[in-house]
């Protein structure tokens, strides 16, 4: 019952902020209420993983499911929402758009609400609707700055993602149709019902449906080659929205793929579904590496890094087993923290130098010694170097892949991660130690504490998670691996 109350509070808080912002248009009020809502959501999401045991709990007429996987994703989302809400107070004041600010915060709270409740949906169809709603709300956040570039990004975002996700709907309907041969013409299509019926379903149609769903939700996750919307949307939206898109939204869509993968595991379809996921993951890493090396825009660099990390997560789930799934889930948390840090830093530098071009940002360490060092540490972390959390999770995923059928993917992953490390560090070298010209000095040398504090808040746990992977978290994550792929050691 305790968990039910927490879930209710967790979703009512952003809803209240949404309504509050719509009725009271004062900018300071809106940022405060959104911040409070984010803090409440975070405070409610934090204890749920501790309270929940290995069994899924259903609420409100079986429409809401909370299991360990959902609790984990909701925790990641609420962390990013909280950090991004602190950051947006400072960042949005720099934009000087006070009279339209209430719209931003209303949409921001709405976006958080849809992203938080998405993984909690027990009905497969309603999960689809929740994902579609996240797109609709976030489109307007991407378009918020109302310049030609963000309009273009918003248009590409909604077109590509809506078209992609309609494939997921087709796949969902084929799953339902397949189930009607087992369960009769009318049944409630929930995740557990599908898993139970899966062994008796027709394998050919099941694979067709899974591939459609994978491509559909894969568009939303940003797996290459369906990633084309991602760099545009992530680079043209305001920085707190970029952090939410990257750190929260992608995980919410990923959990759907993982649940469908669990259904195919229950049906004993062999290795094909996992192999396809591994192939998408490896290709995403490849695309990410190519574009990171040659990138010129600072936020696009971070966006391609998101594609890369979603590729790593897809590899983890594709490798499967306790190591793979636990590594992938741990990677989700680390990536959420780290990518928030990176987007916050990128937003600060973008505002400080008044440009998005990497080449025009020089001498960061001279003008911003503390914050620059922090951002550089984040960059080292995001490329998967020790002693940060992403090193541990990527290493675990690689260990999971070391079996004959997937070892090629591990070698590809290792090579590409090194390429990405070199490319990423080269961009940071030019920003920190590149030649500075007098006219390249920042237009703004003082940044408010609102912009710096969330960077520290995301950095500290990242370092802790890299040095110490708590045993409790390990057992928690491996139990998710058990429940997602039954019958696997």
């Amino acid at each position: 019952m305790m968990i039910g109350t927490l879930l209710l509070a967790l979703s009512i808080a952003p809803l209240a902020a949404l309504i509050g912002c719509l009725f009271v248009h004062r900018p300071r009020f809106c940022e405060t209420i959104n911040l409070i809502a984010a803090a409440v959501s975070f405070a409610c999401a934090l204890p749920i993983p501790f309270l929940i045991d290995g069994h899924a709990i259903l609420y409100w007429g079986d429409y809401v499911i909370i299991d360990r996987a959902a609790a984990w994703v909701v925790l990641c989302t609420s962390i990013v929402y909280f950090l991004a809400s602190i950051y947006s107070v400072g960042y949005m004041r720099m934009l000087a758009e006070d009279e339209r600010l209430y719209r931003f915060y209303a949409l921001f709270a709405g976006f958080a609400l849809t992203t938080l409740v998405g993984p909690l949906m027990n009905s497969v169809g309603i999960y689809w609707i929740a994902i579609e709603l996240t797109t609709l709300v976030s489109t307007f956040l991407v378009a918020f700055e109302r310049v030609a570039e963000s309009m273009e990004a918003a248009w590409k975002y909604i077109m590509v993602v809506s078209a992609g996700i309609s494939l997921a709907l087709l796949g969902t309907i084929l799953f339902y149709w397949n189930g009607t041969f087992v369960l009769g013409p009318t049944y409630q299509m929930t995740w557990s019902v599908l898993s139970t019926a899966a062994p008796k379903m027709n394998p050919v149609l099941l694979i067709l449906a899974f591939l459609l769903v994978l491509v559909g939700y894969g568009t939303k996750v940003g797996l290459a080659p369906m990633h084309s919307w991602l760099p545009d949307a992530h680079s043209e939206s305001p920085a707190p929205v970029s952090a939410m898109l990257s750190g929260a939204l992608l995980n919410t869509a990923m959990i759907g793929i993982v649940r469908f993968l669990g259904i195919t595991r229950a049906a004993n379809l062999g290795d094909l579904p996992q192999l396809v996921l591994v192939a998408f993951g490896a290709f995403s890493l490849f695309i990410g590496a190519l574009f990171i090396v040659r990138q010129q825009g600072i936020k696009r660099l971070m966006a391609y890094s998101s594609i890369e990390h979603m590729g790593v997560v897809a590899l983890g789930f594709g490798f499967g087993g306790a190591l793979g799934v636990a590594g992938a889930l741990y990677h989700m948390l680390n990536h959420s923290l780290n990518k928030s840090l990176m987007f916050f830093g990128a937003g600060n530098m973008m505002r400080a130098y008044g440009t998005k071009e990497i080449l025009e940002i020089t001498g960061v360490n001279r003008f911003f010694p503390t914050q620059g060092a922090l951002w550089l540490a984040g960059a080292i972390a995001i490329t998967g170097a020790p002693p940060f959390g992403l090193f541990l999770s990527e290493f675990t995923i690689m260990r999971a892949g070391l079996k004959p059928s997937y070892s090629w993917a591990v070698y590809v992953m290792a090579v590409l991660l090194i390429v990405i490390f070199v490319g990423f560090m080269n961009h940071f070298r030019s920003m920190y130690y590149g030649e500075t010209t007098p006219e390249a000095a920042p237009v703004r040398t003082r940044l408010s504490a609102w912009c710096a504090v969330p960077m520290w808040l995301s950095f500290a746990p990242l370092l802790v998670l890299g040095l110490w992977w708590p045993a409790g978290v390990w057992t928690y994550l491996t139990s998710i691996a058990q429940s997602l792929s039954p019958g696997v050691p």
């Binding site: 009905s123 169809g125 309603i126 609707i129 579609e132 709603l133 609709l136 489109t139 307007f140 378009a143 109302r146 310049v147 030609a148 570039e149 309009m151 273009e152 990004a153 918003a154 248009w155 590409k156 909604i158 077109m159 809506s162 078209a163 309609s166 494939l167 709907l169 087709l170 309907i173 339902y176 149709w177 009607t180 041969f181 009769g184 013409p185 009318t186 409630q188 299509m189 027709n202 050919v204 149609l205 067709l208 760099p231 545009d232 680079s235 043209e236 574009f291 040659r294 990138q295 010129q296 696009r300």
Partner: protein, 226 residues
């Protein structure tokens, strides 16, 4: 399963309506004028509504009558009206930038239908449904999907892309009425409303595009690359 024991009359009625919808998507594919495009979409939605009602009658699913009425209201009247208003405001009446001649588009569409038929036949054979209307439903569903993607790819006027997206969803609607008429009602209702929201969003976005980018041709959206 509804499709396994249908009377011949019902079966041919379903087939007729499915084929009419497929034909209408070819009309859309072959036309340059946005107005024709829109009328074909509206007619397609009415056909799908008629199909819902027919499935409701022959399969005794009374809730499908409600779906039929809502389909007519939303997809047959309200959506076309909203899009018609956008078209009038934008003062564009035809595709100007054609990547593909409509005639070549029709040929590619026909190839897509053949591919869809091959896939559907293979899937239906798994369930021994080769001789039923299920093959046709699946074919129309998949080929409208492919034709919708073709339209998205070769049309560059913003409104045509919105219509292409709606064709994608029409295909799913049509197929699901025949294949899974018993699917819980709630989902279908919400999807109808969802579509309405999408079109409202598109209306706003198209307005934005015009005021801030100065064009509604998506060919001009090429600032963000690499």
């Amino acid at each position: 399963m509804l499709v396994q024991h249908l009377s011949p009359l019902a079966s041919s009625l379903f087939s007729l309506l499915a084929i009419v919808s497929l034909f209408l998507s070819f009309v859309m594919l072959g036309s340059r004028w946005l107005k024709n495009y829109l009328y074909a979409f509206a007619a397609e939605s009415w056909t799908i509504a008629a199909l819902s009602a027919a499935v409701g009658y022959y399969g005794s699913y009374p809730e499908l009558y409600l779906i039929a009425i809502l389909t007519v209201l939303f997809r047959g009247v309200l959506l076309p009206y909203l899009i018609w208003r956008i078209i009038r405001r934008l003062e564009v009446d035809r595709e100007i930038h054609e990547i593909l001649q409509p005639s070549s588009g029709l040929v590619i569409g026909a190839l897509f239908v053949m591919f869809a038929l091959a896939v559907s036949y293979r899937v239906a054979a798994e369930f021994h449904l080769e001789l039923t209307v299920a093959v046709l439903a699946l074919t129309v569903m998949l080929s409208m999907k492919l034709i919708g993607f073709l339209m998205l790819a070769v049309r560059h006027e913003a409104i045509s892309q919105v219509l292409g997206l709606l064709v994608l969803e029409n295909g799913i609607f049509l197929g699901s009425q025949i294949l899974v008429p018993g699917m819980p009602l709630l989902i279908e209702l919400v999807i109808l409303f969802d579509l309405l929201i999408i079109v409202a969003c598109f209306g706003v976005l198209v307005g934005y595009l015009l005021t801030h980018v100065g064009t509604t041709s998506t060919l001009d959206l090429k600032r963000l690359v690499g």
